[in-house]
């Protein structure tokens, strides 16, 4: 699903945010991307989502070579991804329903199908009944869950999350992590970036550890 081959990303500042990173994430896998702040976790996810392009090395995601992807192809490529952001990135002048519906609207689903799927996704994250609320009236944890519902509502092949639990208390954080495990159990490939080592310490999942832009370890426990 994701294949990095000797990927380096050098910013115009001359700083190598990623340095010679190679790894493969297979279809149906769940992996955590960890490392200190500034290690390059967000940068790696941006490469996967075709937000940044690598300076050298090759990035292939979902069969698409992102070094060579055309600008006009990027939207269609991204529709196969679900992305969860640390700061939710919800649209504040749209209701919860409309926020979650956005990926389906973009894909051209019709109204009833949208309503059905949005309700199913909101049910999944425990927010059914809050469709007509506006994001500001929700707690941080609820907002984060709206963001997750939006990321999974079109059943993406690959789910990316950048510090999804960054603003949450430990109990909520564990709950969110369980959600990702559930999505993975039904076949979605999941890659979660987090610097919260404690949260995943007891979990037996694959871990990619970044250290100053280099892949320091790729462990399975």
């Amino acid at each position: 699903m994701i294949q990095f081959s000797n990927v380096t990303l050098r910013f115009p500042t001359g700083h190598d945010a990623l340095n010679d990173v190679s790894f493969t994430l297979n279809k149906g896998e769940l992996a955590f991307l960890t490392g200190h702040s500034g290690a390059g976790k967000s940068t790696l996810l941006k490469l996967v989502a075709a937000i940044e392009r690598s300076t050298t090395g090759q990035v292939v995601v979902n069969g698409e070579n992102l070094n060579r992807i055309r600008r006009s192809r990027v939207p269609a490529f991204r529709r196969n991804l679900g992305i969860v952001f640390q700061d939710h990135n919800l649209l504040h002048d749209r209701s919860v329903f409309d926020n979650v519906a956005l990926p389906l609207v973009i894909e051209g689903f019709r109204g009833e199908e949208i309503a059905r799927r949005v309700r199913a996704a909101l049910d999944k994250v425990g927010l059914l009944g809050k469709e007509s609320f506006f994001p500001v009236t929700l707690s941080t944890g609820e907002q984060q869950r709206v963001g997750i519902a939006r990321a999974v509502v079109n059943r993406p092949a690959l789910l990316l999350a950048d510090e999804p639990t960054g603003n949450l208390d430990p109990e909520l954080a564990r709950e969110i992590m369980r959600l990702f495990e559930e999505f993975n159990q039904v076949g979605t490939t999941v890659l979660v970036a987090t610097h919260d080592i404690e949260l995943i310490a007891r979990k037996r999942h694959r871990r990619l550890i970044l250290k100053q832009g280099r892949l320091d370890a790729d462990t399975n426990h």
Partner: protein, 352 residues
């Protein structure tokens, strides 16, 4: 499909998927076909999908208006004035042309014959002129008639009586055959008539009409130039408003693009805004032009009456109104298209 999911919130629903019968992976043929069946297989489905996207864009447009109500109103007004100004000039000029078209019909040439010309000679010349292909009517004004007219209109009858003999020449009034004759054609006719030995002076009474035609041509050109300048100004105003709107929604645009929206999808609410600006501006322009013409109606009518003319100021009319609306919408759409295309590219997720 199984029955609707229960409405009760279930935060920890175990391994239950949004759709328990299917994995989340979109790439299985099963889901692909599911996706396809929900979009665009029939016209009806396509229409419903369009309606959902349309609703989204309209909500975005409305939010945009709500966020900057004054800018929105000012844009519509500016667009309206930019349209109304050349439209008023155009309608007025059209009226002037209509009036002069009537005068053109009245283009006439006075032939002052030599005073020695006898009545028989004059009538013979008139008969001869009537056979000419470019001449319609020829009226004969005898020396006696001329004197009578002069006395009646000048009030100098007594002074003429002192002269004893009638000093006025007989006159032939020549009307060109073609009612819409061009000024230079009249000019040519005048020149040929002047060469006739019986004619003392051939005079075109409406020479000033030629100058008026020239002025109208200048006016038309001026309207074109002013219209073009105002058009550019209107485009700039709309473009600037859309630029502000795009900047206002930078965050939303980034998020939407990251979720996989195409440029077209992101552009749509801004085009709708441009359409609304254009439509409102066009209606406003129609209102302005109608008001100006209404205000001018009475004074113009009074002037016309004093010339014992039944001239009525012509209004905007359906065609011109439709043209104003179309021009407004065209301007609004073009302005927002140019602006949004220019500024959208710069907004990419991840680029600060």
């Amino acid at each position: 499909m199984p029955s609707d999911p229960p409405r009760k919130p279930r935060p920890r629903s175990g391994a239950r998927d949004v759709n328990p019968s299917k994995p989340l992976d979109l790439n299985t043929p099963e889901i692909r076909s599911n996706v396809n069946s929900t979009r665009g297989t029939t016209f009806r489905a396509q229409w419903r999908a369009y309606a959902a996207a349309h609703r989204w864009a309209v909500l975005g447009t409305l939010a945009q208006f709500r966020r900057m109500p004054y800018t929105t109103a000012l844009t519509c007004v500016a667009l309206g004035i930019a349209l109304a100004f050349p439209a008023v000039l155009f309608v007025l000029l059209q009226n002037v042309q209509q009036v002069t078209a009537r005068w053109d019909g009245a283009a006439q040439i006075s032939l002052y014959l030599k005073t020695s010309t006898t009545e028989t000679q004059a009538l013979k010349l008139a008969e001869q002129l009537r056979t000419q292909p470019d001449i319609g009517k020829v009226d004969y004004i005898s020396k006696a008639r001329a004197l009578e007219d002069f006395q009646r209109y000048s009030g100098l009858g007594d002074a003429l009586a002192l002269l004893g003999e009638n000093p006025l020449p007989p006159v032939l009034v020549v009307h060109p055959k073609d009612a819409q004759v061009k000024p230079d054609a009249v000019q040519r006719l005048v020149q040929t008539l002047q060469t006739n030995p019986a004619v003392d002076v051939a005079q075109w009474d409406m020479q000033w009409l030629q100058r008026l035609h020239g002025l109208i041509a200048v006016g038309q050109r001026a309207i074109l130039v002013i219209g073009a300048l105002l058009l550019i100004a209107a485009l700039v105003v709309v473009g600037n408003t859309i630029r502000l709107a795009v900047q206002n929604r930078t965050q939303e645009i980034k998020v939407t693009k990251l979720i996989g929206a195409s440029d077209g999808f992101v552009r749509r609410p801004f085009l709708y805004s441009g359409f609304c600006y254009g439509l409102t501006g066009g209606l406003f322009a129609i209102g302005v032009v109608s008001t100006v013409l209404w205000a001018l109606h009475d004074p113009v009518h009074a002037v016309a009456l004093s010339y014992s003319s039944n001239f009525e100021l012509h209004g905007l009319g359906f065609e011109l109104s439709a043209l104003l609306l179309a021009a407004g919408i065209g301007l609004g759409l073009t302005g927002s298209w140019l602006s949004v295309s220019r500024h959208l590219r710069a907004i990419e997720p991840g680029v600060a």
